[in-house]
């Protein structure tokens, strides 16, 4: 019992520290209005015991959302905003999870959006958050809701000046690593990009 109390006393300041660090990390991420760069995705499929690699670009506008465009080997795009997820596949097949259509979609979109945006409150509501300092900050997000755990077990962000990589551990032993490289920080989005995020 004493050990438990001692560990609780020791951990309490740490949790406060993580809280402050989380805000610092996301303040850094959102300090630049737009981040663009190349995306390298490595997806491990346990059942095939191999990784699938794809490449593309990303555009991150902290307050508006994120656009992922995969160009190789099979083109597709994913637009994440606060209230919807829009996936575009070949042949202009568009799959929309629109929050206006269903509150469940809105909730999922809001949570995914919060991972890239400065929405610390939503993160805290939905994840057990830990932040580890070092050369780069590492933010670990473990879903609180069992339903969310069915989509992913853990999201880890490595953050320097901006997000450098994101890794997602999924159920069934699968995982995905997203490396965000060759980043640039334009002042604003182009009209086309604005339109894609507003659609």
């Amino acid at each position: 019992m004493k050990k438990f109390l001692l560990s609780m006393i020791l951990l309490l300041p740490l949790s406060g520290l993580w809280a402050d660090q989380l805000e610092d990390v996301y303040a850094r991420i959102s300090a630049r209005p737009v981040t663009k760069g190349e995306l390298a995705q490595e997806q491990y499929i346990k059942i095939a015991n191999r990784s699938l690699v794809s490449k593309g670009t990303f555009i991150m506008a902290a307050d508006k959302g994120v656009i992922f465009d995969i160009t190789e080997p099979f083109p597709s795009s994913m637009v994440v905003t606060e209230d919807k997820l829009v996936q575009t596949l070949p042949g202009d097949v568009v799959s929309v999870m629109d929050g206006k259509e269903n509150a469940a979609f809105k909730n999922i979109a809001k949570i995914i959006h919060s991972v890239f945006a400065n929405d610390v409150q939503v993160l805290r509501e939905n994840f057990q958050v830990t932040v580890t300092g070092g050369p780069k900050d590492v933010v670990s997000l473990v879903p609180k809701d069992p339903l969310l755990s069915m989509l992913f077990l853990k999201i880890t962000l490595t953050v320097g000046d901006s997000i450098d990589s994101v890794s997602v551990i999924e159920t069934g032993g699968n995982w995905v690593n997203y490396a965000l490289n060759n980043k640039t920080f334009p002042e604003k989005l182009t009209k086309d990009e604005e339109q894609r995020l507003a659609q």
């Binding site: 995306l39 995705q41 997806q43 499929i45 059942i47 095939a48 191999r50 699938l52 794809s54 593309g56 992922f68 995969i70 080997p73 099979f74 083109p75 597709s76 795009s77 994913m78 994440v80 997820l85 996936q87 596949l89 070949p90 042949g91 097949v93 999870m97 269903n102 509150a103 469940a104 979609f105 809105k106 909730n107 995914i112 509501e125 609180k144 809701d145 069992p146 339903l147 069915m150 989509l151 992913f152 997602v168 999924e170 159920t171 069934g172 699968n174 995905v176 997203y178």
Partner: protein, 753 residues
Amino acid sequence: MKSRGWLSNRFLFLLLLVAVFVGALLRGVQIDTSFFSLFPEYSKLSDVENKISHSSSSAVYILTESIDFDSAKKGAEAFCNAFSGSDVFKSLTLHQDPDSIEELKTFLFEHRYQLMDEETVAELEKGNVDELSKAALSQVYSPFSFADLSHLDKDPFLLAGRSLKKYAFQGIGNMFMKDGVLTAESDGKWYVLIRGSVTDEALSFSKKNGIGRVYEKIKELEQNNRGVSYICSGVPFHSYESSSKAMKEISWITGASLALVALIIFLAFRSLFPMLISLTNIAVSLLFGLAVVLIVYGRVNALALVFGTTLIGVSIDYSIHFFVNREHIFRSLTINCISTEISWCLLMLAPFPLLRQIALFSAAGLLCSYLIVRFFYPAGGADIRQHDGKTHDGSCHPDASCHPDGGQGSGYLLRAAGIVVLVICFAAPVVSGIRIRNNIKGMYTMSGQLLEWEKKAASVLKLGSTGEYFIVSGRGQQELLAQEEQLASRLEIEKNLGNIGGYTAISTFVPSMAHQARSYKASELLLQRSRVQLKALGFGSAAAEQFALDHQSKAGMVVTLKDVPAFMNEQIDALYLGKVGDSYYSVVFPLQVHNSAALQNLADGRHIFFMSKVSDIEKELDHLTRIALIFILASYLLVFPFLCLIYGKKVLRIALVPVAVILASLAFVSASGGGVDFFACAGIVLIFGLGLDYLVYGLEKKTGKATLLSFITTEISFGALALSSFVPAHVFGLTVCAGLALAYLLSLLIGRS
């Protein structure tokens, strides 16, 4: 000899009373509070409709509201704990099984070749395998797509995932699962949903009403958990409100009517004896009416009791006439009892459960009252005479023949006045017009809080369902599903046209065997592409061979309703009605209906029926109103020859009066409200029966004091009913009140002239 006959009749009647009361007690006194009894059987599919009504009449939604999710969830848990194991709810669901999505994924994966949606099947049938293949590959490589890749070797085209969205989010409206409960966020507040089904006992007034206990507990929980409030929605809350109101009204209408009637009788006879014996007669008659209804129907509707209070004013008439006229009135009483019973019996034929109960209650009570007067009053006659202090030889009777105003000169004046009133009665419908119009929305008005709750629940849940739906039928389950699919394909067109937002149907969960076979056949086209597909995903040729074997093993597999994941059963139960008569039935609910006229055209009247509850009930009530008018004509034709036999030439004098009263009543109702509705028409049936009494008494030379007293007491009963907040009771009471006043006036003018 005659005396022994009377004794034997009395004994038999007493035996009947005892048998009926014992029979009713054995069946148990149950008061039905069902809200749906307000409505008639309004369609040919009434048995099917009853099944739908039965499930919706017990379903409740309870939302807990708070500014933060945790408090709302705790409030919901406290409510469920409070009613855990109680006899109020058959079921109470708060927590959602987090494994349900996993269960659904397994179901969709196992039956992926049979459950492909129409769009995918059609694409494959067109030979567009390439598009499907590319879409799956892109999906696998797409970031944050969260596609289920755990069976990628067996499902490289991601067929299972294509249907997941449709299955997982159907019928939950604006709610989503959070922390194991269904929740919604609206206007900065969190709501947690509890779904429940109330037991039949909890809805009944025979025990402490379950809904009353829900309200008490909610009040207590709100006091203990500041910041958490509860919102109740569902038919049981409306049933409770209307029946509670009905019970209160029964108390005051009965109390007020009895008190006034007793006072009038006391004042008229200056004696307690007639008053006490009349009140006893009323009490026995009311109990007899109630007992007969309980024996026949097993339970009595609270609203039928509200209407039944009018029995006080009607049954007292026989007592009054007896005390004024003694045995000389029995002929008139018998005629009147028969004519009034005919009116009630005709109402018993109406396809309207509530009205049938009212009619049976009144007919039985009235008959009982008549028989009490007939069999028991003469035995106590000597005593009453002493109290009364009058004779019945006609000389001092307050009847028309000896009344000072009954002279020849005033007879002409009365006749002239009668003719004028008759002309006015016949002209009234021409001036006002007669419109038949039933407005069921106006029949029931929600209390402020219930209205607020319903508005809030609708805005939070956003289930999108309206009172409009389709009933689909088939000779077997497969024909039913095939019919549903035909309807679904047309509903998809309406959805694309923007006429509806969506729909729910069981065929979207489990398609027909024909569709499943077609789906499997279309999936065979994937075999040719499977090797390339699996290679692109990193699998070897062995995986392709396994894929082909696996596909082959699924041949002939059939998905039935029993195979669906358990968490979907509740939704399927609400849609699938099962076998009713010789056919199988299901319901298809269009959601967010913007153009209901477009939906009506989708019904074929053979297998697909469009049901619009409000307009269907109103149409049926309009139809019933017309039938009721025909009933009145039928009553008239039935009673007229009967009166002809008794009164001969005099019958012509009374022939015009009922017609005049009916026409004037129809004109009055048309002019005073939105039109003649069914309850006004039911009132007119009664005016015919009761109004005729005054004329009969007139012809029998028994008008005067007795008729005036009986008129006043009847007016008191129906007048009290006219004060009811329950709109049909108000309309019924007011119509009878006005109609009887006119009938009485005409009986004075015509009968005595």
